[in-house]
Point group: C2
Chain length 236, copies 2
């Protein structure tokens, strides 16, 4: 790992617990309006279906739209299936912005602080810069830079995102380590020549729910249980 | 100022003392090689002439090149005038990278910390992202995001830089305040609809050296003596 000069982090699921954060916010929102629904189910569907919206932008089937826009549309489609009343644009906007304030995993803040003492670190996320700034401030995470999808006007796993971030960091791809829980994201980064680290987040989709199988040992450069373990592995 | 939601900062001269920092580094470099020169004069000329190189990129007379490349070229042209020996590419690279590590003004770190407690803050600089990351880490400054010229592939005072940064911040231009010492930079930001704050840096070019006259009271939204005064004015 001695050639690594900077770190990039997937954000949703890897640094913050979108599932617990969204369920809490939706429950509070619903309680205040006397609306009940299967919030955990809705949150899983929201996460699952927004990936389809991202893919349409990535493949050029639709013009650039940021994550707020895509999350509003995805929620508009899901709401009837979960028995929600018709949601106004203002309400959809409010719900989409729930993705801006999510709790960090217990090791994230300390792990990132230790890693940053040695390495510049930035998120590489499908969120946009404004979202990531709010997310970091709310979760108490400090970065050296913020690479949102709007910087590249393209979504992961498009190579432009991984390579674009490495270029902005002033690094060759092999000098950057990309840290994520999602094997497909790690695979795309590795295909661009980045170093990769799998960090286990067994609760991302809820206890016992496995969406992607973890990578095999040889598929990534490092496998760690959390960011504290990564910090130790990197000599931080 | 109640509509301001985020702050942008010019960097060289406004947050860091490039002049003192470069003179110190060049003196050390020269002493180690038994090279003497008018370092203060060279540094002023370097700063002055690199603006011409930036303008060529801005006006499309040449392709995109980052600040390191432009500073190398400018120094290559200046070296003979200041009696320096022929400089190798490696040496030019080393000298250009002196712009990556410059001391903060005495109020910068504390002022920025106070401002960031209330407002997201980022540099908007003609430096590139990698340079700004190194600069911030070396000077002990923390930002919420980093807007280098390479994000926009354009240099200030082109409107794309001010407006591009506002867009990435998720703000209307009038919701962003741009803080700088240079009146021409402030004027260009104001023409894009940004709020502006002049911060006095009387030592930027050396004691008693005035390169641009300060703006008149009505030309900017705020005029402050340093960032601590700005923090107080913004209720931070």
């Amino acid at each position: 790992m001695s050639e690594v000069r900077a770190l990039l982090f997937d954000t949703f699921g890897t640094l913050v617990d979108w599932r617990a954060g969204l369920i809490t916010q939706l429950e509070q929102w619903g309680t205040a309006r006397n609306i009940a629904a299967d919030w955990p189910g809705l949150v899983l569907a929201w996460r699952r279906d927004h990936v389809l919206a991202l893919a349409k932008v990535r493949t050029g089937q639709r013009e650039w739209a940021n994550l707020d826009e895509l999350q509003r549309e995805t929620m508009r489609q899901l709401a009837p299936q979960f028995g929600l009343p018709t949601l106004s644009n203002d309400t959809l906007d409010r719900l989409a912005r729930m993705w801006h304030e999510l709790p960090a995993w217990p090791d994230t803040v300390e792990g990132m602080a230790r890693l940053r003492a040695k390495y510049p670190a930035a998120p590489l996320s499908n969120g946009h810069v404004a979202l990531l700034i709010r997310l970091a401030r709310a979760a108490g995470i400090t970065f050296d830079a913020v690479f949102g999808a709007d910087v590249f006007r393209q979504y992961k796993p498009d190579p432009q995102t991984y390579l674009g971030a490495a270029t902005l960091l002033g690094c060759a791809p092999g000098e950057v380590m990309f840290v994520a829980f999602h094997p497909s994201d790690l695979e795309a980064a590795a295909a661009c020549g980045l170093r990769t680290c799998f960090v286990s987040r067994p609760l991302e989709y809820g206890a016992g729910v496995v969406v992607e199988q973890p990578p095999a040992q040889g598929d990534v450069d490092l496998m760690v249980g959390d960011l504290l373990e990564l910090a130790t592995a990197m000599g931080c």
